[in-house]
């Protein structure tokens, strides 16, 4: 299985650990085997060195020369609508859903359970109705 996402200048990465946890940033330069220089002016990440181990690469990338200034990085990120693409991605939605699920209170869990069972009841009744009709018509 070949690698699809590479550590390169302009790669947008999701920061999974550390002080900037939860934000996205672009890779501006590579420092050494373990550290890269990142910058995320549109997402609130200041230009800094960051360990690669605490970042997860996304499939988004933009083009700018290495060591480009924050101004240039910002221009490229905005032109490519990186923030919108990230917000629309399934990955970002999943993170948000997990956070909501974790923050549910006991009352919320109760309401969710009731809502699910109501919905399932509607589905079952509809399904059984259709099955009955098909059985009557001799189709199953």
């Amino acid at each position: 299985m070949p690698f699809k996402k590479f550590v390169e200048i302009g790669r947008v990465a999701y920061i999974a650990d550390g002080p900037c946890q939860g934000k996205i940033a672009a890779i501006v330069n590579v420092i050494d085997q373990n550290k890269v220089l990142i910058d995320g002016p549109t997402s609130g990440v200041s230009r800094q060195a960051y360990p690669l181990k605490q970042m997860h690469l996304t499939n988004l990338s933009v083009k700018f020369p290495f060591n480009a200034s924050t101004k240039v990085v910002r221009k490229e990120l905005e032109a490519n609508k990186v923030d919108e693409k990230w917000a629309d991605s399934a990955w970002c939605q999943r993170i948000k859903a997990k956070a909501v699920r974790k923050s549910m209170t006991d009352f919320d869990r109760f309401k969710l359970r009731k809502a699910k069972s109501q919905r399932n009841r509607i589905v079952t009744i509809a399904l059984n109705g259709k099955k009955k009709a098909l059985r009557k018509a001799g189709k199953i």
Partner: protein, 250 residues
């Protein structure tokens, strides 16, 4: 007698180091103290000290009295340390009562132990001994007006506005104190206690319960999600597979 060559000179003298030349026995003989110790003192009549004293003891088959020493023997050491006398500083009645901030009045809490474990109840107030007064309400989940230790309550973040609910002053710790059953004289031949009657709430309790519960139910009705809240209080709490309390928020 031989001429005393040492007349006028001391019979004992200190050496350069400060120690005296002759010790006690030598000076006794030098000074002939035996010639001057003939005083005879009349023997004082010593009051006889009582060694044992007779003390009365209880128990039918214990002989009635026992001889007890006036002064305990030196080797009479107890095998267990006597309990320290109670301090007269911090009695239980003077203790500071604290309550977890999450268990304020009107909070819905889950009872974790006892007959009503798993039930979601409404916290009303804290009583003088520190226990929390809770109610089901009784109509919803069968939990009456009850005292619960806050250690056995899991506070949820759901709150009901019970500022309008007035709990009468008569409902305090004394109100909930257990009534001791009178011990009837045992008839001969009956070794076991008479049958204990099951708990029956008094009319007073039922009245107070109804009075407070109508107020609490009204407060629940006023809540923005009142209808669902009623169902919520009716349903018992349980953990299902994959649910761990330390990862859940309440």
């Amino acid at each position: 007698m031989a001429k005393n060559k040492n007349k006028g000179k001391p019979r004992n003298y200190a050496l350069e180091s400060g120690v005296y030349r002759f010790g006690k026995s030598a000076t006794y003989h030098k000074k002939a103290i035996y010639k001057f110790t003939k005083k005879k003192v009349a023997k004082k009549a010593v009051a006889k000290k009582t060694v044992f004293v007779e003390k009365k003891i209880g128990g039918a088959k214990n002989g009635g009295t026992r001889m007890v020493r006036v002064q305990k023997l030196a080797n009479d050491v107890p095998t267990k340390d006597a309990a320290a006398p109670g301090t007269s500083v911090n009695f239980f009645s003077k203790h500071k009562r604290t309550v977890r901030a999450s268990l304020s009045a009107g909070t819905v809490a889950i009872v974790l132990a006892g007959v009503h474990k798993g039930k979601r109840v409404v916290v009303l107030k804290q009583l003088e001994t520190g226990l929390l007064l809770v109610t089901g309400p009784f109509k919803l989940n069968g939990t009456p007006l009850r005292r619960v230790n806050q250690r056995f309550l899991l506070a949820t973040s759901t709150k009901v506005d019970v500022s309008g609910v007035s709990v009468p002053e008569s409902i305090n710790d004394k109100y909930f104190a257990r009534i001791k059953a009178e011990k009837s004289a045992k008839k001969d031949g009956e070794i076991f206690d008479a049958k204990k009657e099951g708990y029956k709430p008094s009319e007073q309790r039922k009245k107070d319960q109804a009075a407070i519960d109508t107020q609490v139910l009204a407060a629940i009705k006023k809540h923005s999600e009142g209808q669902v809240l009623r169902q919520y209080l009716k349903a018992p709490f349980a953990l299902s597979k994959g649910q761990f309390p330390h990862t859940m928020s309440f």
